[in-house]
Structure formats: C-alpha cells, structure tokens
Symmetry: D3
Subunit: 143 residues, 6 copies
C-alpha cells in the first residue's frame, strides 16, 4: 500500500485588510502596519491543495484531478475570487482575514467533499506574496 | 556609443475595481465581469522600469540602480503599495484603474526624475497576474 | 494617442516530434537529435499573445482580456491542448512542427479575429521549455 | 547528529496518454478526459529528488550533488527524456502512466544507488504542470 | 488548538568556495569540482524561514511577519548579503561553506529570537540554485 | 520571408565586485554600496541569447538550438561559470564588471560564431537578480 500525495493549484485574486474593530486606529496601525489600510489592499493568492491516498490500480490516481479541481473551484475559488475577504465571504465573517485564518477556513470548507470522493485532505498551502505563505495540516504537526 | 537597457523590478500589492459610474450595474457587469465587484478585489503587481543609456566609463552603469530603485519606491511604491487604486491615489483620480492606465500614469510620474538622474525612461511593464500584463513605451510603437 | 501593449498568457500541453520523412533515420537523428524520437515527446507550452492599441476612454482597455482570452482559447488552445502537433492539428499539416513554425501558424490563426475586435496583433511569444522560446512579430523586424 | 535534507532538480520532456485498454473509448474519455487523446500529449516534467543524511565533517555534504545528479541522469533522465512514457520505457510497461505511478517507479529505480553512495532517499517530487504535482516518500506517511 | 506553519522568504547574494585547506589541490578539485575555484564564485541565495504556532485570536497571526522579517534581516541577511561566506562571516569560520552547513548555522542563529517573540522555528529552507536546495528541521527527521 | 526570433537560456554562477582602484574606499562605498565588498559577492546569472532569422524550410529552424547552445556554453559559460568575473576572465580585464559591461562583452564574444552558423545575433539579456537585468541589442536602439 503505497501512500502518495497529489497537489492541485488554483488561484484567486482578492482584497482584504487586517483591522480589529475593538482596537484604536493607532493600535491597528502599530500591529498591522500597511495591512491596516482602511480602503483595503489585495493579492494574487495561490492555493495548493494536497490529497493523500494510494493510487487506484485501474486509473493510477489518488483522486481524479478533474474532481479535485472542481471541488476547489466550486467551494473556494467561486467564493473568494475577485472578492473582498472581509466583506463578501460568509465563512470568513467575524474572523481576522489573515492568511493563517483563510487557510484554516479553506480546509474546513473542502475536507468533507474530498473524503466523499475517496481522498484524504492532507495539506493546504496558501501563498499570499512571493515572500509570505502558510501551510496547514488540519491542525496536526507533521514537523 | 553602445546603448543598453537596464531594468529594475519593484512590487506593490493593491486593491482596485473596474467600475464606470455613468453606467448601469448591468453594463458594468457585462463589460468588466468579476472585476466590477463592488467591494473591490486586488493583486500583487510587479512593476518593471527600464532605462536606456550608454554605460558610464567610470561605473559601468547606465544609471545607478540604487538611484533608480529610490525613485520608483518614493514616487510609485509609496503611493500604490497596500492602497486602493481607485480611492487612495491622487494621480489616478478620475481614471479607470485598468492596468493600461496605471502603467501610463506611472510613466508620467517618474519620467522626469529619471532624466534628471542621467537616464532615459524606455519602458514600463506592469504585471497584474501571471496571465496578464501591459508594456508601455511612452506612447511610441517600437513594434 | 498613447499606444500600449497588452499581453494574455494561455497554456497548452502537447506531443510532437521533429522528423522529415524525406530524410533517412540517420539524417533525422543527426539534425534533430532527441527531438526525432519516433514515438514522440512533449511539452507544456506557454503562449503569450500581445495586442497593441490605445486604451478606450470608457474602459481603459486596449482590448477586453475576456475577449482576447476567448479568441485564443477557441482558436488555439482548443486545437492544440492535449494534442499531437504532427497528427491532430489541421493547420500544422505538412509543416515541420518546430516552435518557430507553430508560433507563425498561431499568428495567422488569430490575427483577423483580433482585428475584428478592435485590436492589432503585435507579437506571439511561444515558450517550449524554460530554456527555449520564440518571438514572432508577424514577420516584421522590430529589433 | 544533525539530519538535513538536500534536493536536486532534473528535468525531462516526455509524451504520454492515460488510456486503459480494457475499457471502452467512452469510459476512457469519461475518466481521463483530454489526457486520453489517442495520439498522445506531453509535458515538461520537473523531478526533485530529496536525500537525507548528516553532513560529512570533511565536505559539509549529505551527498555530493555531482553524484546525485549523475545517478538521476543516468537512471531516470536517460530513460524518460524525449521519450513516450507508455511505449519507450521498460520499467513503466503495464503501468498506467499517471504522475503518481511514474513517481513511484522513479523511487524504486534510484533508491538502491543512493544508498550505495551513502545517502538515504527521502522524497520524490514530480511536477507535471504548474498546477499539478505529486510527492512520494517511499510509501510512508510523513503527514 | 490549530497548529499552522508560516514562512517568510528573504534573499541574499554571496560569494563562497568549497575548499579544504588540509587537502591537496587535486583532491579539492576532484571532490568539489568547479565549486573549488580559488577565486570564488557566488549565488543568489533564497532563504525560507518557517515558524509554527497557533494563530493568535486577536491578530490571526502565528507571528507578526514584520517581526519575523526583522529578525531574519538583522541576524542573517545583514551578515551574509553581499559577503564572502568563507571570509566575512564570523559564525561560519572554520566551517565548510556548503549549503547544508550554512542552513544549519542560520537555524542556530535565529532559533532563540523567534522563541522570544512567541514563535517556534520549524524549518530552514535554503535555495542555492534553481537545481539545488536544502531543508533543515533543527536536526529532527519529519520524513 | 518571415523573420522570427529564437532564444536560448544558459546559466552561470559567478563572483564579482564593483570597485574602481583609482577611487578612495569612501568613494567606492558611496557609489557602489554593498557591491563594493572587498571580499566579493556573487550571483546566479541567467543569460538569454536571441538570434533572428527566417526558419529553414527543411528544419523549421532559425538556428539549430544544439548549435546555439554549444556556442554559448563553449564561449561564455565555460569562461564565466564558477569564476570570479574580475580576476578569472581574460575578456573582462580592465572593465568594470557591471551587468551592463558583462552583457556587452558577451555579445562581442559570440556575434561572429552565430553568424558563421547562419544566424544573426539580435539580443543579449542578462539577469543578475530577480530585481535587476539588462538587455543589449548590439548598441542599437530598438525602443
């Protein structure tokens, strides 16, 4: 039984800001710096979704990438692409729209659908800029 | 006299939307699609500024890249990074914030300063996503 | 009248080989090397299509990228993606499937449609590998 | 004893198709979509081979990258570059040429040689396109 | 308690050579090849620093990236950028300047500062060229 | 007669410094900043060599890329890879080793050989870092 990991990349472009309403403007600026800009800023996000499993003997697939892509596009890209992460996204309401929290929310959004399709979600990698990204393993600590 | 072209990359992350107030919501959606999202979206922009000239015999430089970088950061990145291109940028007021128009505005903003420092602005390349970019040569048609 | 250039990237994955039927196997191997492998090889091609024009005062667009993307996908990607360039592509029949010739054929395929949509095709860039690419300006010599 | 991981990238360009002879054309098309194209398609594959070990006190090396590169080129690149994965590769005969299966086959092909040279194969990463890749840890589940 | 990993990229350009003074020139050349060039060579190094933790409920941050970037720039980039790794860097004295050893030294240099700022250093990835990189997990073996 | 441009990428890793012996240390530091570090620094250079011509009717080639690659490797990479640009390279003696000057020297080194092989050298692009590069058209001003 040879476990292997397969990853699909999808992209979305979105606006957001880091701003805590309970805090003063000064505190927001001090903690979040430029990311607290009132009128938003934005990014080209790159999302890598990794599924683990054993290749199916008939297809050689852990999961059909058409299926995986369809899940991610329908559940994640549809909801986040060309959107404002703070204002337009129901499942991010009341959550600080940090890359960390967005990645965790994406995991929760698709974990079930991937399981239903015979795969097991193993990792979410979300790249915000060429200098910053997060990796989430469902809360586990693989390293 | 060996003319050569030197390019400096700087980056900025910004929000914008494509929306024409004189048009109905339907027309805006039809023409601009997802880019018309009311609550904005955003991008990691990559800006390439190309200067032409003959290398200085003492330094081997067309223009000192520290100088070129300082001009672009002070005039462009300071104004656009972590900003809303429609709301926060004086020199983009009243202009549709398309990549084309932003690139043209950047040219006008720095052409003079580069000349003052002994270079000649030759090209602005502005990358909006891995799939879309514009190139501007000051209105000239090199090809 | 400020001429500017806008570029759209599309991708396709295809098989091909370089093989001249009039030549002996020895000569094919000598000229084309590994690219003459009888059973084909393949590439992830990246296609950059550049259109020139003056931004429309209403939209800020040289050409609507949705339109440009639709032309390239319908005429080029549909015909070449997941295909064998030697066997499956009517407009490449009887032509050596070198990157040069594929780029020229792509120009001829979309030049008219872009003109009909108010743009002027300026350049085709076709990347075969990270080490090899061609650029075609409709036969003109911009440099 | 400080374990560290070193990775070497090699590339190869190959043709393949996903097609199960026992299945009807309809079923092949339904499951494999464009990848079932009869006349093949192809990719620029990027292969990352990761070896783990403790740096040698004399050289600072886990494994000499010249040695690692030579193993991968001789055993893998020689066999796969500018080849048809379905037709030209003895060790892939009778195996569905999915990225998963190719990665597993590559592991089996070089594991021993790396051990003989004092390293321990830790991971094979095989990138098929900018949107798809697999990672194999010899069947283990590191995460 | 949802553990997540956040990574910051910083870059530095440096010269080095691989040369063991106790060895003859012949042996140095045989083991280190071109890397033993007496007059040095150099690289654009890319350094990825990964910190693990649980997002702070107020900020959504594992660690403030401004803080993480400041630590890496002050302790690592300041010491290595535009330097000779063999001659100019106190903490690399007496150590073979292989990518492996540089990565291990970087870990030791910043582990404490990251802990003081509420994070836990999880991984150092150091890219020497597009074909070579190392990954270090503090000596642990996550896979 | 359809002129087209074909480009081959080759890479080399080298050390250099920017230092003018006739100047004081203060002046060198002021003009060249970190690049004046006495003990050198280095880069992964990427060299793109562009040749123009009309595809040969038999081969579809402007120039055989095996030939072009061989010229560049023999004349340029052999001379610069894993070398010190200031000390080890005969054709750069007495020249400030700026990216501009290295690109111009590379042009002069290979122009003739490319002509002998039926091509016409059109452009040298030399990338020093992800933020800095130069482009040289033999002294001409295409834009």
């Amino acid at each position: 039984m040879k476990t292997i990991y397969i990853t699909r990349r999808e992209t979305f472009n979105a606006a957001h800001k880091l701003w805590k309403p309970e805090w003063s403007e000064e505190k927001n600026d001090k903690v979040f710096g430029k990311c607290a800009n009132k009128n938003w800023h934005g990014h080209n996000f790159q999302l890598y979704v990794t599924v683990k499993g054993v290749p199916n003997p008939d297809t050689g697939f852990v999961i059909n990438l058409k299926t995986l892509s369809a899940i991610v596009r329908e559940k994640v890209v549809e909801a986040l692409d060309h959107k404002n992460l703070n204002l337009d996204v129901p499942f991010l309401q009341g959550i600080m729209a940090s890359t960390e929290n967005v990645a965790i929310a994406i995991w929760d959004l698709i974990e079930e659908d991937i399981l239903t399709n015979g795969g097991e979600l193993a990792k979410i990698k979300l790249i915000e800029t060429e200098n910053n990204f997060v990796e989430y393993y469902g809360g586990k600590e693989p390293f």
